[in-house]
């Protein structure tokens, strides 16, 4: 079974991110790392391929400056190879543009299953996976908290607000996973060493047969009109106990309608 995992490479969330006032988007010129949200998809893919006893895990990523840092981490976990789409023409690409690029890159292989995260940690529109599925003409299942494969289909437990739905879907298909679908492994030292020599196929927009005008700033169907720093969080109310603290807390919770 061959699985493609979409992995986004993002600025390290440990370093405070910065917005570029010119482009009104996140600055992405520092070293990028594997989005933790995608480590779940990578782990799930590795486990499914392992259970199937054959096949491989291929990564697909779109990122600026030929960035491979995050891909190397996922390769170190055990993925076999990666496709990286990096092209100056992609600067300013919005979610739909990203989906077009990823779909074209995935379309060059014919995977049995495509995995993505429910939403990325930096952009978190949560729209890319369904768009990719639509563009590839594949059925898609979202919010997977458990995935099993048998015969020609996937069995997915789909997280809902009050439990889960059991969904079956024929393959090929796309499934987006939640954090917690599996516990991602740490790469072993051998894995880290091996990742250095695993193939990363670097392709451009032209290689994918995509019209440069349909992506990047030019192709954007959306425009960011303004950016503001998030308001600082107001400090909460401190209740000093003068014998009635419990009553005041109950009244507060009552007001929030959480009781």
């Amino acid at each position: 079974m061959n699985v493609v995992v979409c992995v986004k490479q993002i600025p390290d969330p440990a370093d405070p991110g910065e917005l570029d006032p010119e482009t009104k988007t996140l600055k992405r010129d520092s070293k990028l790392i594997l989005d933790e949200s995608d480590s779940y998809g990578v782990e799930m893919a590795l486990q499914l391929v392992d259970a199937a006893g054959e096949g491989e895990v291929t990564l697909v990523s779109m990122a600026p400056n030929n960035e491979v840092g995050g891909l190397r981490t996922a390769l170190a976990m055990g993925a076999a190879s990666a496709v990286l789409v990096s092209d100056e023409a992609l600067a300013g690409t919005d979610a739909l543009g990203t989906a077009k690029v990823l779909a074209a890159a995935i379309g060059r292989t014919s995977p049995d299953l495509v995995l993505a995260a429910t939403e990325s940690s930096d952009g978190y529109t949560g729209t890319v996976p369904a768009q990719v599925a639509e563009l590839l003409g594949l059925p898609s299942v979202t919010f997977a908290k458990e995935i099993a494969v048998d015969g020609g289909g996937v069995h997915v437990k789909r997280q809902t607000e009050d439990g889960y739905d059991s969904v079956e879907c024929p393959m090929p298909c796309l499934v987006s996973v939640t954090a917690g679908v599996v516990e991602p492994r740490y790469p072993s030292f051998k894995g880290i060493m091996a990742a250095k020599s695993k193939p990363v196929d670097e392709v451009t927009v032209a290689d994918l047969g995509i019209d440069a005008g349909s992506v990047g700033w030019a192709g954007g169907g959306q425009e960011i009109v303004g950016i503001e720093p998030a308001p600082a969080r107001e400090s909460g109310e401190v209740i000093e106990d003068e014998g009635d603290a419990h009553e005041r807390i109950v009244a507060f919770l009552d007001e929030l309608k959480v009781l």
Binding site: R72, A76, R185, Y186, P187, S188, F189, K190, I192, M193, K196
Partner: protein
Amino acid sequence: MTADQDLSDEIVATVRQWVERDVIPNASEFEHADEFPEAMFEQMCEFGLFGATIGIEYGGLGLDITTYARLIEELARGWMSLAGILNTHKIGATMIERYGTDEQRQRYLPQMVDGSFRAAFSLSEPDAGSDTRALRCKAVPDGDEYIINGTKMWVTNGVRAKLVMLLARTPDDRITCFLVEKEPGPSHGGISVSRTIPKLGYKGVETVEMSYVDHRVPAAAVLGGDEGLGQGLGYALSALELGRINIAARAVGVGQAAFEAAMRYAQERETFGQPIIGHQAIAFKLSEMATKLQAARLMTYDAARRYDSGERADMEAGMAKLFASEAAFEIATDAMRIHGGNGYTQEYPVERYFRDTPLMIIGEGTSEIQKMVIARKLLERYPAT
């Protein structure tokens, strides 16, 4: 061998991430319960830590000592005992790789890379610690076997190990190293764990007293074969030289943890209307702690770098061990003082650092012994003309 810098950084960063997520939040709980950290140990095996420095030809990773020292530092920053689970194994593997016969290397090293077959190192005895030449454990040849009798003290990992690097005296009054295979557990053949030593710190990993009563090993168990007869002490002391870089790295790791805890606390805790770091007495303490830590780290990396590049590192390793272990103890003590009353409780990790750091001053040659080693090397390097 020197690994490329990127690779080394990535390996260290991976372990650091694990230590932060899985070790630091759980270390004190295991330590207080004196419980072997099974899950942490398994992850260490999965990383490949046990075979990290073993040659590629035996299935290891052949990592350089500088990278290894950085890994030890990260482990110890989380919990010193994790470095202890690894350390005797590393000493054993180094001795076999350097001094073992071809057959011994082929037999042991491939089994030693994944952590399933671990080594203990058994030199010390109740009456032979600093004075290694005083050791009394006996190995008497009998046909194509040796019969071993004696008591060994301070055998770290002694229960769980499957191989003991045992130093014993033969009837010709020379000291030889024997590769003693055993099953994990309290006894095996003539070997028994007579006592588990209760310790101030360094918990979760066992340090035991082991007795040998007419325990037989094949003659092939002599490390280095016939050539190794009588060479045991030399082999052990030379492996301990590398061990000193390792202990220095451990001290840097615990020192770092103690310093970070103190830095955090000094900014949170307020007295007389300001965070205590605003009082110059506390700020200066932190400055001194950071400076000592920086010096200890640089000395450790320098000794490791020298070792990797094939330069002489014997004296530098001793200096790094001496300085870093004393520095770590002082830093841990100051971190505890900065924590005030909280530093004296089990609710903050500094009490653990305070209990763990003295071991680095004692183990693998006390500070006094390091000074003797350094002085001897100084005389070699600066002979009277």
